[in-house]
Symmetry: C2
Subunit: 356 residues, 2 copies
């Protein structure tokens, strides 16, 4: 065993991202679209290759003495720190709780790492910590360990938070993006694009008649209700955060080798959010959500899953929005309100930087 | 259950850090000394209160279906990213592996979160990823899940990395800072202050006859050997990173309610590191280590533990450096080479910012 490995860069192993095209990291490499995917598929996956990572899940699944654990990490760099409907603290709790839930797991514990910028008002840190505390308490998941670093003024941006979570996957639950199969139906628990629009309207100083609040919310309980009624017929769970509905469904289509057809008229979206998207020139299919869950379920269990979603406070507007098909594997299509069919591609650039 | 909690700041709960003294976050709040301790004890612990967090360990211990898991998180913001003996990538693996080892755990899996600054050279990212890959492979612990965010130029500093780990604590092992008791002996596996001095010599442009390399190394195997021979007689394990030997031992003395007496002449330190400390005006007791382990062990098991340390490649210079005493609970003393006894206090300011 090499106890103190010194990296060897003489081995001729080239950087797997074409340097001529991308000499430097771009904001879009973190945007959840095509460049993020390139970084993951070409650099991270081959470097850290192992069976758990290859699942390309929202988290890894580990088996420990017969118990299946979900393990998921997320760093939060949202700007501004405080926004309608939440702040970086509550978002950091909800985001990781949701990633665990998307593995079919019941969240057990969270760890949190703060990177603070020198000069951050102490009151702002306190607001963030209080918000994390309240969010964690509402979810019923303790923050059991943490770390704090401070970087020089101008080398950070107020607060960055990493939250990593462990959850327990109940027996009989097997969700994975690879389980999507032709004939499955695609459900969502409510109206899309709320989080991204809340952030953008603050950044752009837009005002609306009613405040457009982030949909940031913990989805573990909603997911538990769906799993209660549909069990292993729930094939895929995914929270469409960065890159929105379109990017999440493209990833699933690619991983499962299936096509996905959406019905535009069935996708719930609020009128004001739709209006804000038009003003901002954004396609709501690509705008981030932080309290939405895609459920891909065997057709025969879809009604039961839909009823379970609708019975939950976070699922009142739940809908069946599309289906998994065998044609055009790896692609997502949208049937528009007027009947045309168009390809819904991965996000290529950076639509909304630092949304989470 | 409150599903979408909105923080309520009208409740009159004051910021627990005195704003008149500390209106803003200072670099020293991340330095591992007194201000870090104040932030943890006054803000984080009361906010996130739960039994696991109150252990004030390098990580939390969770019981899952009869298996004890260690869970630990660390964010790495070291500057510069590359330094003699390592880089932020290898450090991020070693740091979390070591925190798990200090809980008595065998590392099982790592999660990693990157925060990249727009404009980071892609080749630098690749060097860091390759180094993490090699470090993780040498340790034999897979990186199973990850996340990547990008922040605007001038809002980060190249790369920040969070690594969070899960480990399994074998039966019969119970290490905790609270288990230090009068009569125990204090061991260390080798010469101190190597990491901090390697970083500072790069920052200050100092040159020495031989390159002063960081001691960054994974300690899980060394710890396993000590636990093999001394088992539950190993009372405390601690890696003296930020704040150095002095801060770690002060924390243990406070948590266990004991005194700790060190013998200066027995503390291993390299001549060049000692010389560099003199040039830089640093007390080596406060300088960070990244490959050192303090072992506090029942007196009757100390010789066996020392032999196990010395038999390991990372413990050739291991030594018994002091003892736990009942006098002056909460304090650390140093008997100097000339026989005087002085108090070794917590670090109060920021000695070495962004050392890890």
């Amino acid at each position: 065993m090499n106890l103190n490995p010194t990296p060897d860069f003489s081995a001729g192993l080239q950087c797997p991202i074409p340097i001529s095209d991308y000499p430097n990291v771009l904001l879009a490499h973190g945007g959840g679209g095509r460049l993020t995917q390139m970084l993951i598929e070409r650099m991270f996956l081959p470097s850290f290759a192992n069976p758990a990572l290859e699942m390309l899940h929202d988290g890894a699944v580990l088996e420990v003495n017969g118990t299946r654990l979900a393990f998921s990490t997320d760093s939060f760099v949202v700007s501004p720190l405080f926004f309608p409907g939440g702040d970086i603290g509550s978002l950091a709790v909800h985001g990781t709780v949701n990633d665990l839930a998307m593995c079919g797991a019941r969240p057990l514990s969270l760890a949190t790492g703060f990177i603070l910028e020198e000069g951050l008002p102490m009151e702002d840190l306190w607001r963030v910590v209080r918000s994390m505390q309240q969010a964690a308490r509402a979810v019923g998941v303790p923050i059991v360990t943490g770390d704090t670093k401070v970087v020089d003024r101008g080398k950070g941006d107020g607060v960055f938070i990493n939250t990593t979570g462990i959850g327990i996957i109940p027996e009989g639950i097997f969700v994975s993006p690879r389980r999507a199969r032709a004939g499955d139906l695609v459900l969502i628990n409510g109206a899309i694009a709320g989080h991204g629009i809340a952030i953008m309207s603050v950044r752009e100083g837009l005002e609306f008649e009613t405040e457009l609040a982030s949909d940031s919310a913990p989805l573990h309980d909603l997911v538990a209700r769906v799993l209660d009624v549909a069990g292993e017929q729930v094939h895929v769970l995914r929270d469409p955060t960065r890159g929105g509905l379109a990017s999440s469904l493209n990833e699933i289509a690619a991983q499962a080798g299936v096509g996905i057809r959406l019905e535009e008229a069935r996708i719930p979206i609020g009128d004001e959010v739709r209006g804000a998207c038009e003003i901002l020139g954004l396609d709501p299919l690509y705008v981030a959500n932080e309290g939405k869950c895609l459920v891909i379920v065997a057709r025969e269990a879809a009604e039961a899953a839909l009823s379970a979603l609708r019975a939950h406070p976070l699922g009142a507007e739940a809908a069946i929005i599309g289906e998994v098909v065998s044609e055009h594997p790896g692609q997502v299509f949208l049937r528009s309100r007027i009947g045309g069919l168009r390809v819904v591609d991965m996000l290529s650039g950076e639509q909304l930087p630092r949304i989470c």
